[in-house]
Amino acid sequence: MVRFEDVWLNYRRPGATSPADAPDVLRGLSFEIPDGGFRWLTGPSGAGKTSVLKLMVMAEHPRQGRIDLLGTDVAAVNRREAALLRRRIGVVYQDFRLLGHLSVYDNVALPMRIARKSEPQIRADVIELLRWVSLFDKQAVRPAELSGGEQQRVAIARAVIGRPKLLLADEPTGNLDDGQAERLMLLILALNRLGTTVVVATHNMSLASRYPAPLLQMADGRLTEDA
């Protein structure tokens, strides 16, 4: 379960002494997503979608309010517990965030290596996913040699390889053609059916309409619709 209770967020400017010195980018957000739920997080650019996702991966902390992730109050966990909680969350970033010095294989294997899985298990899972995203032949290639769409697929494979309990995606189909976008959405839906809670941020309403699910509609840092 994911629950936001009256969450406020601002990005403190360097040197600022008080959070009040910066404008709030999220204002009084409250919503709840049950285990295994699926939500579209929509709204125009600057509405606060990415900020919500940052809070969900604990990359930021709210100025006010309470956030529960997978049943855990994130304000109550220590750094080790926060790291272990992050391992249960898969994220597809809009800018991919791949490691340029690693091969495609090692990028996808990264979450499993961090979780100290065995190499045979890593190899089996990575190969399976690389075949699925049609990048098996490019497993030794560095991300810089891939197209935008291919990098997006590597990022998706990395996000789902740990079979996350919560999957977050920020404009995941932005660099994919229609066929690839269709396959990605089918994967996300399949994971959702297996019990993964999913939040997909997009401003592409036609995509959202093709896969009907409740909306978290945002505007100006507020939730305008919580279906």
Binding site: R97, L99, H101, I114
Partner: protein, 289 residues
């Protein structure tokens, strides 16, 4: 740790490329300081042993009769021969006395008919206070003077202690500079790899994993640098030891304890590298969410 596949890209980072050189230079200075303090201790022990054990007794009017019978000189010699802790008794011969007086009285010292005391030298192991020995000799032959090297030995000991304190201060400074060098290199590496660390951190890497990867590399580089610095210092030490050999009774070679200190130096450098990096990385990581 994350070093199996170099997930953080530490090997490609250039921020720490000078770390072994800087630590090597610190190691070189540390070796000189350690060798200096060991050599000072050795020389002081050598000098202290020679000086403290020297006993000189002057017997005035040596041919006058003593109270117990015989001459005063014989009474003193008799006492010294029986006293515990005194050995190598030697009464200076007239030519030896003349040689002693010649710098002050010239070549004609023997012809001046001065009342020259008898001089006895001996080796004394320091048993009992010098004042007790002087009192006993004065009782055997009043006016007998006793001089020991205890005062000089105390000064040599003070000099040695000050040299060792200086060397210890140098070692502390060298260790602090080495830690600062490691800290600066680590911070540069953190800045260079910030995006990578944020990604790995976001995927659930523990602070101990990230700090461990940095620390492992810093430990190896610091140990290698220290070993190289110590190796470079060895011929310099050998040269310095050859210069100091005349002051050490002609015994060439490096202090024996140095052969234990040298292998320990890379270990100490490694410990400084590991500890400094762990602290630096963990403090830096706390700035991340």
């Amino acid at each position: 740790m994350l070093e199996r596949v170099d997930l953080l890209g530490l090997r490609g980072a250039r921020a720490d490329r000078l770390l072994p050189v800087m630590v090597g230079a610190m190691s070189f200075l540390a070796v000189l300081a350690v060798a200096g303090t060991l050599a000072a201790a050795g020389l002081a022990a050598h000098w202290r042993g020679n000086t403290a054990s020297a006993l000189t007794v002057q017997v005035t009017a040596p041919d006058q009769p003593a109270e117990g019978g015989g001459t005063r000189l014989a009474a003193v010699l008799r006492y010294l021969a029986a006293a515990p802790g005194i050995s190598a008794l030697h009464q200076l011969t007239p030519p030896e006395l003349d040689a002693l007086l010649q710098p002050w009285l010239g070549a004609d010292a023997a012809d001046l008919a001065l009342p020259v005391p008898a001089v006895i030298t001996a080796t004394w192991n320091g048993a009992g206070p010098p004042a007790a020995l002087a009192a006993a000799l004065a009782a055997a032959a009043p006016g007998t003077l006793v001089a020991t090297g205890a005062a000089w030995a105390a000064r040599v000991a003070a000099l040695t202690a000050s040299i060792q304190a200086c060397a210890a201060a140098i070692l502390v400074i060298v260790a602090a500079v080495a830690a600062a060098v490691v800290g600066i290199a680590t911070r540069a590496g953190l800045a260079q790899l910030r995006e990578t660390i944020e990604i790995v951190h976001g995927l659930g890497a523990l602070d101990s994993d990230i700090a461990g990867s940095f620390a492992l590399r810093a430990t190896l580089l610091a140990a290698a640098g220290a070993a190289a610095g110590a190796a470079v210092a060895l011929p310099v030490l050998a040269w310095l030891a050859s210069l100091a050999a005349p002051f050490a009774g002609g015994a060439p070679g490096l202090p024996f304890a140095l052969w234990f200190a040298l292998p320990a130096l890379p270990l100490v450098a490694a410990a400084i590298g590991w500890g400094t990096t762990q602290v630096t990385v963990r403090v830096w990581l706390r700035r991340l969410a």
